[in-house]
């Protein structure tokens, strides 16, 4: 999958949702995540894993992800990351 360097968003700031802003990087610098979450102390690691795992499944190796969480479940986080990544890849 080619890396486009584009930024895209998916999700919302409503309760139970998460707003993902993703910027695809140019070089293989890995995935960097900036997380803001009310569940950070108890689910922080789990959220990192979900975001990284979803991007890996999509073949995205280099990205900067800003995740503004409002208490989303893993299946929601994964959906928003996928939607944002696909939008970015399409640009």
């Amino acid at each position: 999958m080619e890396i486009s360097g584009k930024t895209a968003q998916a999700g919302t700031l409503e309760s139970g949702d998460i707003l993902i802003t993703i910027t695809l990087g140019e070089e293989d610098k890995g995935i960097e995540i900036e997380l803001e979450s009310p569940s950070q102390a108890v689910y922080g690691q789990q959220i990192y894993n979900t975001i990284t795992g979803t991007l890996n499944d999509l073949g995205v190796r280099t990205a900067y992800v800003k995740a503004q969480d409002r208490g989303a479940l893993d299946c929601t986080i994964s959906a928003r990351v996928e939607a944002a990544a696909l939008r970015a890849l399409k640009k």
Partner: protein
């Protein structure tokens, strides 16, 4: 470190607080000794108690470094008095005060400045968000000592909390110190929480923006307790003192929880002539009250009393003849203030009358049912209302442990999840109310009954309520959200949760990282 009877570590003593007595069961401690008595006062004949300024009053009261000052929260988020007093004390150059507020609100965030500069050294009583967060991050040298409304009144009467100067925010006051909360532009209704302060503090300063001719009536706090009176432009911002009409939630999930809670009350067999009832002012609580009201109408029964913080909703029930009386320790809205002023059945009560376990009888002991909230409940039915899931101390106790202990039926209503966070967990981070005082936990995904209340569970099953073991609720929450990790703490204690009888039920530790 000793373990108390619910398995929480309690140190033998803490510097700045003293010896700690571990919790031994909700009804185990038999108090001994005598109650505290204030100094015998004497005033000159005639005249008045009005001083030109707050500064004069502080001087007359003998303000010194390291004193204990008490405040009350009837002006809620409109209160000017706490900041007015502490700002002046800072300006006068005094330090190391212990403050004993009945509760704190966002408007009191200036306290943070006074903590950082050393004017305030310790807090006994209550915290709120920003100040609790400061404590959780280790910002206070001496741990916060958290007390319930009943426990605070007990501590004052027993001399555990010895108040040097009590500050009374007085919506109406005459020149000789008779005070009530039902008149003036800052009227707030009941003054229940500060009555023990007025009776037991060495010095009592009334601060008022509404000086009325002598004698003021009705009297909530009588002249016999008040030393000095100070007149100011405003003691509070009326828009922050009382709320508008509180609204019943429209969220279908919360309505479902409320409906379940009401059906639990019905199934319990307590909903009979003379029923007595307390709820908070939150959306779910009001909705429960709404359903219970309908049930009372259907069954054509009349309640004896509603109690606690009083809302317009309870006032309406009183006015419709569905309760004989309201026992009011704080009046939440304009309707409650008006009703307290006009209706003989609407009775002001002190925090001690309301909830002190060590007097000759408090009102919570007469309660049939109470609806309470939680920030966490565990599979032992222990309830946490102080710390959030991330371990940060964000809330005071209020009347939680008092009403839970007193009422025949204590119902906790909570969504199974808040955002992603499970509300039913293996172990609560902080125990506020012990499981032995909690009867039922109601969520949108099922109702758990304390196994100690076997007969109640049978009644509820017979009423076709969705009763499940509490472990099943926890499993369901973990299945949806994943098992939560434990937040990380240092060893340092930053808060002590005192049970209403003066024993220590739990301690709160400093968090390692706070976002």
């Amino acid at each position: 470190m000793n373990l108390n009877t619910i398995g929480r570590e309690v140190p033998g003593s803490i510097e700045g607080i003293g010896t700690l007595r571990p919790f031994e069961g909700a009804f185990k401690r038999i108090p001994d000794g005598v109650m505290k008595a204030p100094k015998i006062p004497c005033v000159e004949r005639g005249g008045d108690k009005i001083l030109p300024s707050l500064k004069d009053a502080l001087k007359e009261a003998g303000l010194r470094d390291g004193m204990t000052l008490s405040f009350h929260h009837h002006l809620r988020n409109g209160d000017y008095v706490v900041s007015m007093v502490l700002d002046l004390i800072a300006e006068m150059g005094f330090r190391d005060m212990t403050i004993a507020p009945t509760a704190l609100f966002p408007v009191h965030k200036s306290i943070i400045r006074h903590i950082e500069s050393g004017v305030v050294k310790a807090i006994q009583g209550s915290v709120n968000g920003p100040i609790g967060r400061l404590a959780s991050n280790g910002g206070l040298e001496i741990p916060v000592l958290l007390r319930s409304h009943g426990g605070r009144a007990r501590a004052i009467e027993a001399g555990d909390l010895s108040v040097d100067i009590a500050f009374i925010a007085a919506p109406s006051c005459d020149k000789y110190g008779n005070i009530n909360g039902v008149g003036g532009s800052s009227s707030c209704g009941s003054l229940g929480y500060c009555m023990a302060d007025a009776m037991y503090a060495d010095k009592v300063i009334a601060i008022t923006d509404n000086l009325v001719p002598y004698p003021l009536y009705p009297v909530s706090i009588p002249q016999i307790y008040v030393d000095y009176i100070v007149q100011v432009d405003q003691i509070g911002d009326p828009s922050g003192i009382v709320s508008g009409t509180l609204k019943i939630t429209r969220d279908p999930l919360r309505l479902l929880i409320a409906e379940h809670a009401a059906r639990v009350i019905e199934a319990s067999g307590l909903l009979e002539e003379g029923f007595s009832f307390q709820t908070g002012a939150g959306g779910i609580s009001l909705a429960v009250a709404g359903y219970v009201k309908d049930m009372m109408k259907d069954k054509k029964i009349k309640g004896s009393f509603g109690s606690g913080g009083i809302t317009g909703f309870f006032v309406q029930m009183l006015e419709e003849g569905m309760f004989d009386a309201l026992l009011d320790v704080q009046s939440f809205d304009m309707d409650a203030v008006r009703s307290l002023r006009e209706n003989q059945g609407h009775v002001e009560m002190s925090a001690s009358y309301y909830a002190n376990p060590h007097n000759k009888g408090c009102a919570v002991n007469q309660l049939d049912a109470v609806i309470l909230g939680a920030t966490q409940v565990d599979t032992k039915f222990n309830v946490n209302v102080n710390t959030e899931s991330d371990g940060v101390l964000l809330h005071g106790i209020g009347g939680h442990m008092d009403t839970a202990a007193g009422a025949k039926l204590t119902i906790i209503t909570t969504p199974l999840l808040r955002g992603r966070l499970p509300m039913i967990v293996d172990d609560v981070i902080t125990v506020t109310s012990p499981g032995e005082t909690i009867d039922v936990v109601v969520t949108e995904r099922g109702i758990a009954v304390n196994p100690m209340r076997h007969e109640l569970a049978e009644r509820m099953k017979a009423s076709r309520l969705p009763v499940v073991p509490i472990e099943k609720l926890r499993d369901e929450a973990y299945r949806i959200s994943g098992k939560p990790e434990n937040p990380k703490f240092t060893d340092r204690i930053i808060g002590v949760v005192e049970y209403r009888d003066g024993t220590v039920i739990d301690v709160v530790r400093q968090v390692i990282s706070v976002s």
